[in-house]
Symmetry: C2
DNA sequence: CTGTTAGCGCTTTCAT
DNA sequence: ATGAAAGCGCTAACAG
């Protein structure tokens, strides 16, 4: 049997119809008589023809029916992040419903990232987790195809989807730091190098934090810390290389065993916060009496651990990105909903407690 | 500025060269004089031309330079599984190195799954986590493009990559069940319905377990249980809907609190085994004295928890699948390496201990 | 090093 | 309901 080497024209020939009738059989079955359709399908079966070639279709239609998702990370990191998984499943749901495929474009950091954008036949792009000045952003703009950035940076020519991270960080930070004497932050990486370690507020100025999401959250925590009477310079910021409970546990153990034991830790992810909870339990530190903990994302984990956290739907944001690229949504920025969910990892009514 | 609407022909015209010179400028720069190249690039810049159109290229070259990865799951499940992440990162590494993109094709379970295969312009397919008789498998074969299945089912016309799950399960099962009086198994789902719950051996006959990996592992555990003097009918098999520590913890707590408390649990994933360890700690059950635990995959988690486990490299297997689709590897099945790593979650020298 | 020709396989457009 | 013509944008093959 010919391994699908047959063309639509050959199928038409064998069926004794014109190429157009064969084409309609696959694309507009309702426009073809029952009889012609049967002949075409029979001929196709005989020739082992599995359907119109997608590459030729793409060229002719001017559309590949594919959306490119640019992951600003090595794939191993991207898939380790539950947030990325949720986001992608939102993207995939919308794309599948519209008959679109999803092409993954991991960033290598090398100079050929931009070329990879141009060499992809996707009809549009969604960019996840990137940094200020990423050449990929201008490549997407230059490609002339629609693009959305999730979480920033805001880019001329691209739509932006995300939440107001600074506002959310401020609000959850107010809860975390209420009544605290030594607030601390457990942060995502500041840049692509993903260097873990402890810094203090001043090292987190905007210019040094190219990841927009991380930067905005740090800014929000800073506002909260100040509102609770602390100088940002005194706030310890422990950076984790990834959104991983085990790494966070080690970092938290180190903080909690040190000379200036924090009594409040605001973490940028529920995974990180979960690690803090484990470290606290191991060290006999009571939550929330001795230590307030907050997370981010309101994942399953947060519910189980009764974590105070920021609730947002990354799946919905992924869907919004896909809607935009597919043109179903207006081409404007989309600021998604978020709320702070207060649970047992912070003191009740902490938001309303007076500062120390 | 024209949003990349210009064609290569127009660029050539403006540069005063033939289309082929323009084409060579992008595809074989070394064949073009410095001067011509400069003229072409200048014209391209003026016209906002970002490079040759990928859709036209794909048609002309007969290749989209893209590999399709079929995930036999809803995307949210697939990305929650650390094994899938490792596998995909192996696929992506090889593809990126070869200049290929990766298109994700989540299975919906609906009748249009096969059509989605045909409508994708990928040059070949990698199928992850599917079940016996999945129509997707015959669709891949019918597409006439190369295909590999990871973990089975073995399919005429497709290559197969994976480990000998039955042999590995047997070997790790011998360690887990050494000296045990009441061995139990914590299993992955038996089929796509992902029904969680407790069954016994007889309900795990091949005919009822369409997931080949799960089926083969159950078979291996059965062999091990019998070798340790147990009837498979007496072995409790607790099925988890997903490879998730929290779900496993609940399942294990239920088993360990019940009337026939197991003293050995072989789990099909390190995440599941981690949940068992947590349940044991909570209930004051000592590992390995009161309970032997084994996992699968030798993940970071396994090392941290000192789990006896099956070590395999899913990233390497993903790479092997990609190599095959890209034609770099011989078109034959690839049985990957595995070993059982013994750690503290089972008794020392358990493999050599006499049966009870 | 550069150019000419031809056509990848399909579907839009417009007729019948 | 069916068909004829045209060409999507590019590059393989083969000159020069």
């Amino acid at each position: 049997m010919n391994r699908s080497r047959a063309t639509l024209g050959e199928v038409a020939g064998r069926a004794g119809v014109s190429p157009m009738t064969a084409s309609y059989t696959y694309n507009r079955p309702e426009r073809v008589s029952e009889e012609a359709r049967a002949k075409v399908l029979a001929a196709a079966a005989e020739l082992g023809y599995a359907g119109p070639d997608a590459k030729a279709r793409s060229l002719r239609r001017g559309s590949s029916r594919t959306v490119g998702v640019v992951l600003g990370e090595q794939l191993s990191y991207a898939f380790e992040d539950p947030g990325a998984a949720a986001f992608l499943s939102g993207v995939a749901r919308v794309c599948a419903a519209a008959g679109y495929g999803v092409t993954i474009l991991p960033i290598t950091g090398a100079a050929d990232d931009a070329r990879r954008i141009h060499e992809t036949s996707a009809d549009g792009f969604i960019v996840w987790t990137t940094v200020d000045g990423d050449p990929v952003l201008s490549a997407v703009v230059a490609s002339g195809r629609p693009g959305v950035v999730h979480g920033g940076p805001a880019t001329e020519g691209l739509a932006l989807v995300g939440i107001d991270d600074a506002a959310a960080a401020r609000q959850v930070g107010l809860v975390a730091f209420a009544g605290a004497r030594r607030p601390a932050v457990l942060s995502f990486p500041l840049d692509r190098r993903r260097i873990a370690g402890v810094v203090r507020g001043p090292a987190t100025t905007a210019a040094r934090v190219p990841f927009p999401v991380t930067r905005d959250r740090l800014r929000g925590y800073r506002t909260a810390a100040r509102a609770r009477g602390h100088s940002w310079s005194d706030v310890v910021v422990s950076v984790c290389a990834r959104n991983d409970a085990d790494e966070a546990e080690r970092a938290a153990r180190s903080l909690l065993s040190g000379p200036h034991r924090p009594d409040a830790i605001a973490a940028m992810g529920d995974e990180l916060a979960g690690g803090v909870m484990r470290a606290a339990r191991t060290l006999g530190v009571r939550v929330p009496q001795d230590l307030a903990v907050t997370g981010w994302d309101d994942s399953r984990r947060a519910r189980e651990l009764k974590l105070t956290t920021v609730a947002q739907s990354l799946a919905e944001q992924g869907a919004a990105c896909a809607d935009f690229v597919l043109g179903a949504e207006p081409a404007r920025d989309f600021s998604a909903a978020w709320t702070v969910v207060e649970r047992g990892s912070t003191a009740a009514n902490a938001a309303r407690r007076p500062r120390t």
